[in-house]
């Protein structure tokens, strides 16, 4: 692969200076255009040490306005980073729309180095590469432009370069023992790098191989590509933000739609009956039984919470459901068994402007609990495929790819060792009407009822179809949906607590 790189090209000082002024100006103008656009740009430099990665990052910052550039490199994982899913540290750092993120090796560093030194088994390595693909595709789908440069040097060139750096009065510290050890493993590095490039080269995030032998040449080559690619991207992009929302047409894809079947194990049954129709809304519990069972469940949950804390297992609970189904009351029954230091409740409303400037999953990545803690979501990322879909806040391509994005997001959480549970609190339209009336009539409840609640009721059928599709397509073996009947709140609460305890017991072993 690397022998196809055009070698030995050089650009002299005079030629460089002549080109620089024009290139600088057009880079700046391009950046100004980008500032007004609704997409972020990610520029990733991978490759051989000494081939100019940091110099290029420096040049980008010097030639453009550094206030709108975020430059990131990642070292060994801190405790904080280790206690969250692997890609957490990258997700929280993605650039907002209109800005540029410059990354030195970033998510390519660990797979490369760990694989070369045998710390990463082949299967895990391949999974890492798939994960990178998912991450980049997810951002690209959202409008991000992703530019990846693999800076190359051959073995002799690298040796010369390291020698030269060692002698440089201000740069010698950049070369350590590890760099020479890496150099000795040059062949193995090339082998692993080829596999990485092959697997992570994609139309939405193509690799560009660059000969890093000559500073002038590589700078012009990379920066010209950057300028051109951003310009093309902006020119070719019709803003998805300004596009009118499409007419809502809900059809439930029983088998999970184009991107493969999703298992809905917790509510199997004849494929012809949608999930919500299978919920037995007649279930109920008497008051005395409830009063007897609730404290027992609370105690059991409390014991499990203490064990989870000792074993450093994180727990994420998602509560979705119809308006007035009883989310708030249920959450309080859960938190009654926990210590306030160890949980956070995240009520999810419409995103603010800063959140809107990022991928919609970004704000949820910010809320991933660290090991041993609880994060409880009162509504969640599922808004994307419910309210945003039905009300037209998300376009059809946006919400339809969200099913896959959400599965991939949740896979990473579960893989980290976190317990993730998703509850749909189900009631029927009559019960909702009864509760709305009750709210309207009870002084301290009437605030809960807004005109919007009544409006949403009018779209019950559309929401129902959206929920059915959501459940079908995002129930996975690792994180199935739990549909819980809530026409009787007592029954519903006990059911949620029971399932939570059972799941914790299973996971804690």
């Amino acid at each position: 692969m690397f022998d196809q790189i055009e070698r030995g090209q050089a650009v002299g000082k005079a030629e460089f200076d002549a080109a620089a002024s024009e290139l600088r100006t057009s880079l700046i103008l391009t950046q100004q255009e980008l500032r007004k656009a609704d997409c972020p740009v990610l520029i990733i430099f991978g490759g051989v040490d000494g081939a100019g990665k940091s110099e290029l990052a420096g040049l980008l910052n010097e030639w453009m306005d550094p206030r709108w550039i975020v430059t990131r490199a990642y070292g060994p994982r801190t405790r904080d980073e280790k206690s969250r899913p692997e890609f957490w540290r990258y997700w929280v750092d993605i650039p907002p729309r209109g800005q540029i993120g410059v990354y030195l090796s970033a998510w390519y560093s660990e797979p490369l180095v760990d694989r070369v030194y045998g710390r990463l088994k082949k299967r895990k390595f391949e999974r890492e590469l798939s994960r990178i693909g998912e991450f980049e595709r997810c951002l690209a789908d959202d409008g991000a432009l992703i530019l990846k440069f693999w800076m190359h040097l051959d073995k002799a060139q690298q040796k010369r370069r390291l020698r030269k750096l060692e002698k440089h009065p201000a740069r010698h510290w950049q070369v350590g023992k590890q760099d020479w050890r890496n150099w000795e493993n040059y062949g193995r590095f090339v082998e692993v790098a080829e596999r990485i490039i092959e697997r992570t080269d994609a139309p939405y995030a193509p690799w560009r191989l660059v000969d890093g032998g000559d500073a002038g040449y590589r700078s012009l080559a990379v920066l010209r590509t950057v300028r051109q690619a951003i310009g093309d991207h902006l020119a070719g992009r019709t803003s998805s933000r300004t596009r009118p929302p499409p007419a809502v047409q809900l059809t439930v894809a029983e088998n999970g739609g184009e991107d493969g079947p999703a298992t809905a194990e917790s509510h199997g049954g004849p494929a012809s009956r949608p999930p919500l129709a299978q919920v037995d809304l007649g279930a109920s519990v008497t008051k005395p039984l409830y009063a007897r069972k609730l404290p027992k469940l609370r105690r059991r949950l409390n014991e499990l919470y203490q064990r989870a804390k000792n074993q450093e297992m994180a727990t994420m609970l998602v509560f979705e459901g119809w308006d007035a189904a009883g989310k708030g009351g249920t959450i309080r029954r859960v938190t009654a068994a926990l210590d306030a230091r160890d949980y956070r409740i995240h009520p999810i409303a419409a995103p603010n402007d800063w959140e809107n400037a990022h991928h919609y999953l970004w704000r949820f990545w910010q809320r991933i609990p660290r090991d041993g803690k609880f994060a409880i979501f009162d509504r969640s990322w599922y808004g994307r495929v419910m309210v945003e879909r039905v009300e037209g806040f998300a376009s059809e391509p946006e919400w339809s790819r969200a099913f896959r994005e959400i599965r991939e997001f949740e896979d990473q959480i579960v893989e980290h060792g976190t317990l993730l549970m998703k509850f749909w609190l189900h009631i029927d339209a009559d019960e909702q009407a009864r509760r709305f009336r009750d709210r309207a009539e009870t002084p301290y409840k009437s605030w809960k009822l807004t005109d919007e609640d009544w409006r949403n009721r009018d779209r019950w059928r559309e929401y129902e179809a959206a929920v059915n599709e959501m459940v079908t397509r995002t129930s996975t073996a690792a994180a199935p949906w739990h549909l819980v009947p809530f026409n009787d709140k007592r029954h519903g609460r006990l059911e949620v607590l029971t399932r939570l305890c059972e799941a914790m017991e299973r996971k804690l072993g």
Copy 2:
């Protein structure tokens, strides 16, 4: 102090239920009003374990809309919290305007417990109490309503309460060995608590002592106070946001103004000459000398950076200065000596809406570096007393109290062991005009020049007076201002690097 609490009052179930419905309704309405207001509310529960702190937090969440309430309790400090200034964890958690923060013991817990068990010396303890006062005053000045309840039980009551909790099937886990140990030290707890209350009782954050013996009584007492206090606060408040900005009248308070003299040690001199007038703008360095010195300084800085990393010392650098003074170029000369994994540059522009919903210092608390790291600010919190003052974005009371707020903010950073350096890059108006023209004429520089730059120039005198006052009032022994002449950029950069190296050497010992 505690014997003045009215004791033995009780509210029966019937009386409680009768009062509850009305109280709930008015609390909800009050919260709705608050949502529209521009101030946050902080409710702090301190006091004896078992006196109902968590129950009250639970009730507030049940009776009001929990989506707009943030409830926080703090455990032993995590590594993450230890590697930042002490109040960092509280600052990042303050509620936004329109919302309520409910705190269990929070910043009162450590001083109380640590003092009782002798882990906190008297002098340090008293300083902690002053710090709490500063923190609460800072929030109150910004419009926050602060309600503090000290929940009291006498020794016999507490014993009964702990016994009862131990027997409760779902709550027994709340009582551990430490609770009984605390009970045995009851007398000492009361003594320390009295001192805490005495020292932190203030008009803007008064303590209310409540008998926690009866659940019905204490709930009604506290919640009625909450309702009343929020209502009064909203009624009495003329929004500072809607008030028109006052006419700008700049007078330099040479001696630090009403809140005490600030030392301006690095630029002492006749009090009659303002600091900026003392800067020698003629200083310059030849190109060859610059070329010889720069790499040496870079190497020296790199060595110091490595030592700072090993010793886990954090560094915060603030760059302020006239437009076109050379902030960006200087920052790049600093970062050239650092590894990209260990620094973050924070370009500070106008706050976004979410930042605006908090105290103006909140966004800077979010950016405090952890131990061993660099945080570099391209403009900073000093915007409050410069651009916000001169352009009228901050009202006179807002910017004039900012001098003290900033000193207290910086004190905490320095006290934590962080090196904090503040540079003012100084040029004169002629030099600025020359650079503006150069920018206008150089294709790749012209983007840097906007109409706003020319407008700001018209207000040079006003900015100059504001800067002089800022330097005078915020130069402290711990964090003096460094005024660096930048008419000659080469000289300026070398000067910044030299002073940085010297300060790091001193601090690292």
